[in-house]
Amino acid sequence: MTFAATGHGTLAAAAPQGFLSPTGVEIAFVLVGLVTLGAAVVTVTTRQLVHAALWLVVALGGLAVEYLLLTAEFIAWVQVLIYVGSVVVLLLFGLMLTRAPIGRSPDADSGNRPAALAVALAAAAALVWVVVDAFRTQWIDLDKPQGTTEVTGSILFRHWVLPFEALSVLLLAALVGAIVLSRRNAARSEDPGTSRPGPAGAPSDRAGDKEQR
């Protein structure tokens, strides 16, 4: 491994850094990263659907920790708030509303699994190779926090205010879209001709409500 001997041309100070002499932050990052990755793998492989959602919480929470380690504290809390707080809850609701089986379901994976595994492994190999090849000598200087709430807030409302407003319009559109999707289906479900009653109409609206935040 030649990694240890590198260090030329980085943004950080000239002091060479190596894999074999990790800092504390790096150790923490790697450990949390392993947990996150493991949780993600379990999420996509477990046969218990609800467990998948719960493992997703672990993965997303792990990512929030990683953000913290990368000194992006505001992002980290937004991650916790939105992903862990709302998205996963939404997914759980969705699972329940589609009457997902509690416990192990034998058909959680489709027949496409070998192809998916091959594609994923190939993509992973290719990407890891490229990324490592490209960034193995790059060093992040974490001395100065980069993502404090203050900085993020000022940047967001000073330079990024227009995209921010546009995003709010997008969220509104998504809200309206979700309502329309649910409404029309609800109206159809009230039609006596179709047999299936629509128990999901109201929760679907609630999903839109939650999203509104």
Partner: protein, 141 residues
């Protein structure tokens, strides 16, 4: 900290999400996998933002936007999944094969291709007949 750590983690998370999208049967699990992929991208954005010390913090701003869009996406996606589930009684993505070629076409095609055209033609008059029959059936109802 080495940039390779978050980058490799992001790549692996992305590929795990990719696997989930391609392999999971339940549409909600597919959505979860999509969330994983989005988060991998977010991690990349944050890591590079910190590495580059961007004055505008474009990476972090984009991460916030991505999170918001992901939230919207999950809302719309769930609404669609629920609508499909209500109409079809299932949320398994590989059951939704309306765009598939008819299986009997596929089966016939290889076996008796030379008579394929001749065999298709008699079918055509049947279809209006079926249509009439169904109309007749509907008319009393």
């Amino acid at each position: 900290m080495h940039l390779a750590y978050p980058a490799v983690l992001a790549v692996l998370l992305f590929c795990v999400g990719l696997y989930g999208v391609l392999a999971r049967r339940n549409a909600i699990l597919v959505l979860m996998s999509v969330e994983l992929m989005l988060n991998a991208v977010n991690l990349n954005l944050v890591a590079f933002d910190v590495w580059l010390r961007d004055a505008l913090h474009a990476g972090q701003a984009l991460t916030l936007f991505t999170i918001a869009i992901a939230a919207a996406e999950i809302g719309i996606g769930l609404a669609i999944v629920l609508a499909v589930y209500r109409n079809r009684g299932t949320s398994a993505v590989d059951d939704l094969r309306d765009t598939a070629e008819r299986p009997d076409d596929g089966g016939d095609g290889g076996g008796r291709d030379s008579e394929g055209a001749a065999a298709d033609e008699p079918d055509e008059p049947d279809q209006p007949a079926e249509g009439k029959a169904s109309q007749k059936a509907e008319a009393p109802a």
